[in-house]
Each structure stands twice: as C-alpha cells, then as structure tokens.
C-alpha cells in the first residue's frame, strides 16, 4: 500500500508545474545564480578557516533544497489537498493515516536526496568543491535524513496554522524566507554580524542544519549539537501536528 502511495504521489509531483518548478528547479536555479555571481571569492566562516564562496554556496543551496523539498513542499501541498477535500476523501477510505503521511514524508525525503545529489555533482564538476567521505559522509547523511524528516514535521505543523490554500505560499514564505537570510543560507554570516541576529540563528533549526551541510561540503567541523537541535525542532513539529492536524478544510 505504501509503495503504491509513493508511486502516485511521485507522479502527481512531477506533473504539477508548480511543485516541480518551485520545489525542484528553484534551488538549482539559485545554486547556478549564486555560484556564478559570487563564486571564486574567499570567505572566512570561522577564524583560521577560509573557504571558496562557490563551495559555501554548494553547501547552503543543498540546505535550501532540502528545506524547499520538505518544509515548503509538504506545507503547500497538504494545504491545497486539505482545502480541495482530497484529505477528507482519503480519510473516508481504509488507508491508515500513518501510511498516507509516511508516503508524503518519504517522497519529500526522496526529492531532497536527489536535489542534494545534483547540487553536490554540480559543485564537484564546475567548482571542484569537496564531497564528504568516510566518517564525515556518514555524519553528513545522518544530518541530511534527520534534517529532512524534521523539516517535513515542521511542514506538517505549519499546515495546522495555514487557514486555506490561497494563504499557504504566503505563510510558508513568510515563515521560512527571513530565517534563511538570518541563518546565513543566502548571505554568509561573518564575525561582524550583530549578536541579536546570531541569537535568532542559534534558536531556530535552519542555521544548525545549514552548518551540518557546511561540514559535509566545506570542511567545517561537524557538531552533534546541531543535530540535537534539529531533532528537537522535528519532535516539536511532530507533536504540534499530532495535536492540531486536521483532515477537513478549515471553514
């Protein structure tokens, strides 16, 4: 049943121009724009550790791709399905809710992994950015999977706060875009950044997840605390969804 569900979720995803473009093509487009415009400079992310900006953008666009494939995709997709009555219809059939949700979740993870693989291959081919190997590969993969699941859970959670399908893109972007900027995903955070900004970045999961991606691609130190914080947000998202998620349109 799960296998079937995945098959149809996948078909519908690629055929829908909105999801295929905004979720899949967008991060790849940003990757090309950022690396072309801002590549071949050198930045210092921590004292004594300086990397090429193209490598930096490979790592942060990988982070953005995962967030787009999980958080944005799940929240907007589910809001539309809830509003149009697809979720209610599904609720009236014998498919267990858990299987249905797992189908969405695994598909988002699948899209995230493809996006990260394309991003990594692009970086390797055009900018000679490094790829994680050995222990750091393992750490990287753990962060990738944990982060994907956590951002899916947060996507389910924010869906509870979205009033209707029309509001979905606005709520999703308003909640994630500022954080992406504040967390150094689009513009690197250097030592001159104001401390309030660093505090915001420390509290929310985006920065910690992006650091995990940096560790994989840019040779920064992998910090298990980043994983713990991302997991904590994921659990929070799961609990909120378990309590407030509805299958019927909010009217």
């Amino acid at each position: 049943m799960l296998e079937n569900q995945l098959k149809y979720v996948n078909k519908a995803f690629w055929r829908n121009p909105a999801s295929a473009f905004f979720t899949f093509a967008f991060p790849l487009m940003f990757l090309v724009i950022f690396t072309s415009l801002l590549g071949h400079h050198s930045i210092s992310l921590s004292p004594g550790h300086s990397i090429d900006t193209s490598t930096y953008y490979v790592a942060s666009m990988a982070a953005y791709a995962v967030i787009s494939a999980c958080y944005n995709n799940i929240a907007i997709g589910l809001s539309i399905q809830r509003d149009s009555g697809v979720l209610k219809r599904t609720r009236g059939t014998p498919i267990p809710s858990g299987i249905y949700i797992l189908g969405r979740l695994l598909h988002a993870l699948f899209v995230a992994v493809i996006l990260v693989a394309i991003t990594a291959a692009y970086g390797k081919l055009f900018y000679h950015s490094s790829l994680p190997t050995g222990v750091s590969l393992l750490e990287f993969l753990i962060m990738l999977v944990v982060g994907s699941l956590a951002f899916c859970a947060l996507g389910f959670a924010i869906t509870c706060a979205i009033p209707n399908a029309d509001a979905a893109p606005a709520v999703v972007n308003a909640s994630i875009l500022p954080l992406l900027f504040l967390s150094g995903v689009f513009i690197p955070i250097t030592s001159t950044a104001p401390s309030w900004l660093l505090w915001i970045a420390r509290v929310f999961p985006v920065r910690h997840f992006a650091l995990g991606m940096d560790a994989g691609f840019a040779g920064a130190t992998f910090n298990w605390m980043d994983v713990v914080i991302v997991v904590a947000w994921g659990i929070g998202g799961f609990l909120v969804s378990a309590k407030f998620f509805t299958w019927e349109p909010k009217r």
């Binding site: 049943m1 078909k11 009555g85 979720l87 219809r89 609720r91 059939t93 014998p94 498919i95 019927e248």
Partner: protein, 310 residues
C-alpha cells in the same frame, strides 16, 4: 415497514448531535433497506450532512444507536470504511493524475477492489481513462467521484448532494450513473435539496428539517400526497356563467377551480353540465400536489417551529 422480508442496511434510533448550543440532530429514527436508493431531503442547515457524516464515521454522535451494515461507525470505523463508498460534496482529487490512475490509487486502499476498467465502464469514463483529471468536465469529474467511491466494491454508497451546482445535462449524466447502481444491488443513500432528483432516483425518501425527520415514504405517497385533495381547473368562454351546483372559486378572468374529493364523480357532473349547456371547458385539468408542494409545506412548518424556539 411494508416489506419486512428485505434486510436492513442502516438502522438509526434516537440519534442526537449538537454543536455547542445548536442542536443539529434532535432524535432521528430511520431505517434504510438493502438495495434501495434512499434520498434524504431537506433545506440547507437541516442536518442532512451531519446525519450522513455520522453514518460515514466522520463525526461522532452524542446520543442514540447507529448501525451501518451491522457496524457501529464509532466503534469500528476501519471495518466500516472497507465496505462503504463516499462521494462528498466537494470534488477534491489530484488534478495531475489520469482517470485510471486515480481509480487505481484508491483501489489500492481496499482489501477487495473492483477491477478499474470495470468501474470506468460503469460510470461511462472508459474513453477518458488516460485523460488527466484537470481536463474533465464537471459532470465527468462527478462520475469519477462515483468511480472512486466504487473502487473498493462497497455494499453501500453515500452521495452528498451529487448534482448541486451542475447544469441540466451534467445532472442527467450523473443521474444515469446513479440509477445504474441499482442494477449492481448497491444500497445508495443520497442527500439532495432537489425534488426532481429525489423523484427520479429514489425508491424511498425522508424529509429532514430542523434536525428531525418530518416525513418518510416513497416519492408518490410521501406525507399522504396521493390522498390529498385534487384540484379541478378549467376556464369558460366569455359570457358564460359558471354552473351553480359546484363550490367554485374564481381565480382569474373566466378561470375557476374546485377542490375535489371524488374526482371521477365531479368530472362527470362538470362535463355533463358543459355538454348540456353546449359550453367548451377550456384547459380542463386535474392537479395533485407535487412532491415540491408537499416538501415546502413540511419544511415550512419546521422553519416556523425553529422561529418559535428562538
């Protein structure tokens, strides 16, 4: 119940449901037999959808007993879901899947699905099997809704206002599909506020108003419609006075009507008089109350009761 031999699909006793202070259902008793098309009529807000959604397991009742195919929807929702098909008011489905894919996806949720191509031919969508859902017309999407509801080969189908908002030809399309379900031996529970829909499709119907069943029967005899007074109407040519022996009411220029308890006798008397006087009875006709007349009377009473309460 006149046919005690046919077995019962749905039994409801003393069903009550409130939303906060608003009593949506205030003690409903109803029995729906296997294999019949049963229509639940009522104005908006009468409790139709609440009632049906309790039977489907979407909502929980406050009081009363409910048995659907021998299952209590509150206690064994999963067992019930494998045996029913639901067509909701809204037609949400994934617009980018093809017709056959959509039915196949829903089929995969059920233990004993009906073959996809068989379902598509039942609803007349064989030619559209590879079309994406977003390219279907309103009537075709509604037929696909019915196809999805049939995916698990259910014994019982719920159709919630299946043709609301449709143009006449799309309504016809959907009606034909529903009518064909009878041949499969399915029990169909249909909610509607269209009299013609109930009259065309239903074997039996109930009128729900203000959270209660106010009448139950078949479309021909609902609320004693067949026994109600017939009205004989006719017009007379200019300059001809009406016959004195009838209790006539003049309704317009030269037009008259009379309530009749013995239609045959009254018509005989009237036409005898006309032939004797050499008068032509223009547009002579006998009218009985339509289902709509009966319905409006029943639901108007309930609306008054609602006003008295508040």
């Amino acid at each position: 119940m006149d046919s005690a031999d046919s077995s019962v699909a749905i039994t409801v006793r003393g069903l009550k449901k409130s939303y906060g202070k608003f009593a949506a259902l205030r003690g409903v008793d109803l029995e729906i037999r296997e294999g019949e098309i049963f229509a639940l009529l009522g104005p908006n807000g009468a409790g139709k959808t609440t009632f049906v959604e309790i039977l489907e397991g979407f909502r929980h009742r406050d009081e009363g007993d409910v048995s659907v195919l021998g299952i209590d929807p509150d206690h064994q929702p999963m067992a019930l879901k494998t045996r029913i098909g639901i067509v909701l008011q809204s037609t949400g489905m994934d617009r980018y899947l093809q017709v056959a894919e959509t039915v196949a996806m829903y089929s995969s949720y059920y233990p004993h699905p009906r073959p996809v191509d068989e379902i598509l031919s039942l609803v007349g969508l064989e030619a559209k099997r590879d079309e994406r859902v977003l390219r279907l017309s309103g009537g075709q999407q509604r037929r696909l809704d019915v196809a999805i509801a049939l995916a698990g080969n259910p014994d019982l189908l719920f159709l919630d206002e299946p043709t609301t908002g449709f143009d006449p030809s799309a309504r016809r399309e959907v009606w034909e599909v529903i009518k064909n379900l009878r041949g499969l031996g399915k029990t169909v529970v249909l909610t509607t506020h269209f009299m013609d829909e109930a009259q065309y499709l239903a074997d039996r119907l109930a009128v729900i108003a203000n959270g209660q069943i106010v009448a139950e029967g078949n479309p021909e005899t609902l609320a004693g419609r067949d026994r109600m007074l017939a009205t004989v109407r006719f017009s007379l040519p200019e300059g001809v006075g009406p016959p004195a022996q009838f209790d006539l009411v003049a309704t317009a220029n030269h037009a008259y009507e009379v309530k009749s308890t013995k239609v045959t006798q009254d018509l005989f008397d009237l036409t005898s008089w006309a032939l004797g006087a050499g008068v032509d009875l223009e547009d002579l006709r006998v009218d009985r109350p339509t289902l709509e007349d009966v319905y409006l009377e029943l639901t108007a009473g309930a609306a008054d009761a609602m006003k008295d309460q508040s």
